[in-house]
Symmetry: D2
Subunit: 188 residues, 4 copies
Amino acid sequence: MTEDMDSKTHEKGQRYKIPGGPTQPEIVAISLLKLEVVPGDLVADIGCGTGTVTVALAQKAETVFAIDTRKEAISCTKEHCLHAGCSNVELIMGDARSIIKTIDRIDRAFCGGSKGIDEIIALLYARGSVRIVVNAVLLETVITTMEAMKKNGMHSEVVHLQISRSTNLAGRTMLVPIHPVYIITGSR
Amino acid sequence: MTEDMDSKTHEKGQRYKIPGGPTQPEIVAISLLKLEVVPGDLVADIGCGTGTVTVALAQKAETVFAIDTRKEAISCTKEHCLHAGCSNVELIMGDARSIIKTIDRIDRAFCGGSKGIDEIIALLYARGSVRIVVNAVLLETVITTMEAMKKNGMHSEVVHLQISRSTNLAGRTMLVPIHPVYIITGSR
Amino acid sequence: MTEDMDSKTHEKGQRYKIPGGPTQPEIVAISLLKLEVVPGDLVADIGCGTGTVTVALAQKAETVFAIDTRKEAISCTKEHCLHAGCSNVELIMGDARSIIKTIDRIDRAFCGGSKGIDEIIALLYARGSVRIVVNAVLLETVITTMEAMKKNGMHSEVVHLQISRSTNLAGRTMLVPIHPVYIITGSR
Amino acid sequence: MTEDMDSKTHEKGQRYKIPGGPTQPEIVAISLLKLEVVPGDLVADIGCGTGTVTVALAQKAETVFAIDTRKEAISCTKEHCLHAGCSNVELIMGDARSIIKTIDRIDRAFCGGSKGIDEIIALLYARGSVRIVVNAVLLETVITTMEAMKKNGMHSEVVHLQISRSTNLAGRTMLVPIHPVYIITGSR
């Protein structure tokens, strides 16, 4: 863990700027629901970003492999894990497609990004993954993901999530939408 | 009409800054659908703002009364009408609750705002309005509007509209949501 | 026109059962907004179904070519047009891909279906169409449509529309969703 | 526990017909996220229905008070708890407004219904509830709930959730919407 960790700045998310920011809590909750992690599971968090999903997975899994190509994402996730007291997370910087090959068994995986998603799904399937959950904001990624799951004999389900949150406007209530997300779940 | 009108700046909407901006074209289209204007109708546009709805109404109605409390809204609507060649629009600055009383007959009305909506509905009903369409973004306005319609013996329908529009992200397609709108239609 | 036409049964939509039913009025309104029909336009309604869109287009266009492979769709549209007093509609039964080739000029087109949409877009483009609007409920159709538009050098916009309508539940208001629709507009 | 329990019919939800059916899994997941149950909490599930939320709460809370006015809801929840192995659930049939008064302390509460929601919120607040989550499908309930929370000095947040799920149509993907839900969270 980094010596310069500072939970106060961390809490406010001011420290590391990860493009895209943390996955919204409602999206994390539904992604975890779909992943159906059980005790003993080895789980990969591919494109771990700020580490929000990593920490949530670590409460349920035996081990979480948190993977990201970006140095700042790994730093942010490390700090986030330290802050949350997770000791079952392995942080690995690099391209998921290379890293997955070095891991013997991955029971489940959460994919927050879209780069090389078809190859990633094939590799995860080969490592024995029984359930893969992908968060997509691009229509093309939804199709690519479903096709890759189908090609590997996985059943896929898509959930389109449109969330709006209230904001107070002079004592009255306006609903402000967050970006819609497609949550694609592949299972075998 | 103002002498200093400049359709070029107008077209870009740079000239007058009206809080809230123009009603989105899809929302205008559905509001007009619900208003069911027929030739000969005298129609009020209450809270005309940038004049987007005024111009659309003017294509169908005999006369449009464009009402707004804000000087800049009246100026912007005037310019918008001049630009579109509408000659059947009466621009009236002031509080709709006072102005409606000075008009003998109003067949239909579109209300973009929420201030005093319950009184406005009662006044419109007294002027013979057969159909009133209200755009609301505040939950409280939806309820107040429905109650006012009910109180005046009007049947009300609410349509909740959640629209997202595509944006190109490196050749791929992300959908970006606009603020959800409740379109409430009162009819007798 | 069929002798056995009966506007009463027609009005209730009881007569002809067209799978999918009529396009919802809000979807029609936004599709027409996007199509931007101007006087003098020759417009194709591909997959005319119940004729709801045909009749709406006929109010604005010079001529509407209403095309459908199904006999009952052509009958229903014919009746719908007769009922609405539209005399500028040409009803053509058959596969749009063959029929489009027999028409010299098509300025704009609305496509309610998805069968052969990529070929249809290429053919419409060759007939000079400046604007094509496709209603899609299948994710795969959205992608195929955008790709076909891109291939023909058209710019495409997708609008995702999620509409809910109120229903009265013992004096209170529940919102019931209709199926979400993607409205894809290609323009050159 | 009932002697005639049959987990097989239970699993398929065939046994007891509870109007409204079980809360959808995605809605349960987000409601639990908002409730923020911590170990040691005494939690009330008001309007427990099929018991789906009861069982989910029982994994996290010290004790769950599952309350419903309907005999069949209590039976269904009992069976559901037995099936899931929950031993920390107290099933209580009756009007929540009377029952809450008989319980000394309720740390958090989930309310699936809307009957007497304003009184229920006041009573829960008096028992020390720090967080109350209400699922509402009626617009009027959203307003009543927010007002009751405000009156008791609670801060409220509304999340509007519009979920669509994929269905396979001849190898292609259609998204089918479930009823939108407002999740209102009161906290002090």
